[in-house]
Amino acid sequence: MSPGEVSLILFGAFGVLIVIRVPVSFALGLACIPVFMLDDRLTPIVLITEMWKSYNAFILLAVPFFLLAANLMNAAGITERLVNFARASVGHLPGGLGHINVMVSMLFAGISGSSTADAAGIGSLMIPAMKKQGYDTSFSVAITACSSVMGVIIPPSILMIVWGGLMSVSIGGLFLAGVVPGFLMAVFMMSTVLVYAKIRNYPIYQRSSFKEFIQALGQAVFALVTPAIIVGGIVFGLFTPTEASVVAVVYSALLGGIIYRKIGLKEFPKVLYDSARLAAISLFCIGTASAFGWLLAYYRVPQGLVDVLAGYGTGLITTGFLIALSFLVIGMFIDAIPAIIILGTILLPLAAKVGMHPIHFAIIGVISLAFGLVTPPYGLCLLISCALGKIKVVDVIKDVGIILVPMLILLILVILFPEMILFLPRWLTPEFL
């Protein structure tokens, strides 16, 4: 079969199955079956062996552990402490709770590697609080959803771990490269909140005294040092990303169980179960997506794409925009992890051909996929936030669109100026580059 025919079968079958609402993981697997059956050189058992190979990877173990750490932090009441700290720092700006929401997301992103844990934990606290103070529900939900995407951009990040593991890029390097865009995203979003607050006259908190600030800092300090432990540990080679994720679990269990005494023997199994189940669902998808990606590679579809595009003579920047656009579109429809496996591996030779730095390629991909977390029809953070705010997705779209504009500017900046993200890893850990 030709690469064209195979792509037609794979993407055609996948598309049809998705539209009739077959779960993404099953749609990816089912789409592969006809190709395995039709080609004499292949045996269907490859589908299973490819899945097995993708699961039997020590690096992916970090995914359930980081989810578990984030859920333990939520259960330990750390989010409340972070909210108090953010209130003492930025609560006095116009649109106080909006800024607090963004800042807590940023701080929480430094602890958790997952945006969905971020949206669920912060949303359940902040959305009711914002509604109570007279913020529009749609704005409260939109800012919660959009700010939660920092979870995958600011280290630690589950998406970067998957990316690094799959495409052999240094995870420490990726983590460091995510710091600047993550921080800028928070600044951009807080500027948006400021504009909203001016136009809609949102309430302001009284400025906290220095003493109150120090108190709030003291209450949150154990949570605030987590990113230093995790990211520092990985970047300076003390432990592997998987080990770092276990350190995060043990640390948050100690905080929740012994220091803050919020998690008892009854709550612990429930947190274990919830984290394991969510991780399993996402990771099961990795298996079928890997088989799908394997078939594309077997029929040299990525190479075909590179050849076609090479005919147009695309340069570094055009390719950057092309990569971003592809991830933005696929991110609307499927989960970020299978998107990385399928599209990332297709686009990798293209990025390499135009001489794009692997870390630059990865960060463009991760930021573009972060949009997918809040864009319908399949934006998990948006769905979670809407459920928490008890509002329909349609009613939030306008505000989400407005908040995404500065994020889009950030993405364009990252594409145009790779040094913006590369200087930090280059400076701290030149050996990773």
Partner: protein, 164 residues
């Protein structure tokens, strides 16, 4: 039948929680042994963690079929009648069922390879891990019986309403 399925589902939930708790131990041991020397450097830790992990993924995927929590995409407008909802669900469940049959059949072939292999570090027979694939296929089929029965009930309920 129903109570058997509920019991099996509870067992899987319990197993998933247990495995998630257990898997922290080998990775934790790995760090402890490297930095403290309290315990020797075991070489089996990473492998045992990976094998538990594969079982976690497969058990989670089994549970998610019963709970209908595998990620799907909401593109089409929602079905207006019970009948069309029942038909839509039936098509989805049959598709999952095809994948389940595939897993049960080819997964079993895959597990047969495992009988003649032992793992490199810990010497565990590989069939004990490979078997998770056919077990997933069979578990999906079991849970789907219940699902398909519900779908047919939904379609019939609609016909009854129309008749009345």
């Amino acid at each position: 039948m129903k109570s058997l399925l509920v019991g099996y589902y509870r067992l899987l939930k319990w197993l998933l929680t247990l495995l998630m708790g257990l898997i922290i131990i080998p990775v934790g041991l790995q760090i402890l042994s490297r930095y403290t020397g309290i315990i020797p450097r075991y070489i089996w830790t990473e492998e045992v963690a990976r094998f538990c992990f594969v079982w976690i993924i497969m058990i989670g995927a089994m549970i998610a079929v019963r709970e209908d929590t595998h990620f799907d995409v909401d593109l089409l407008p929602h079905p207006k009648t019970k009948r069309s909802e029942g038909v839509r669900n039936l098509v989805v469940h049959i598709s999952i069922g095809m994948m389940a049959l595939f897993f049960a059949w080819y997964g079993f072939q895959f597990a047969k390879f495992g009988f003649i292999q032992n793992s490199e570090m810990s010497g565990i027979n590989m069939a004990t891990i490979y078997i998770s694939f056919p077990v997933a296929g069979i578990s999906w089929l079991l849970f789907l019986i219940e699902k398909v029965a519900d779908d047919i009930k939904l379609i019939k309920a609609h016909d009854q309403e129309v008749a009345e």
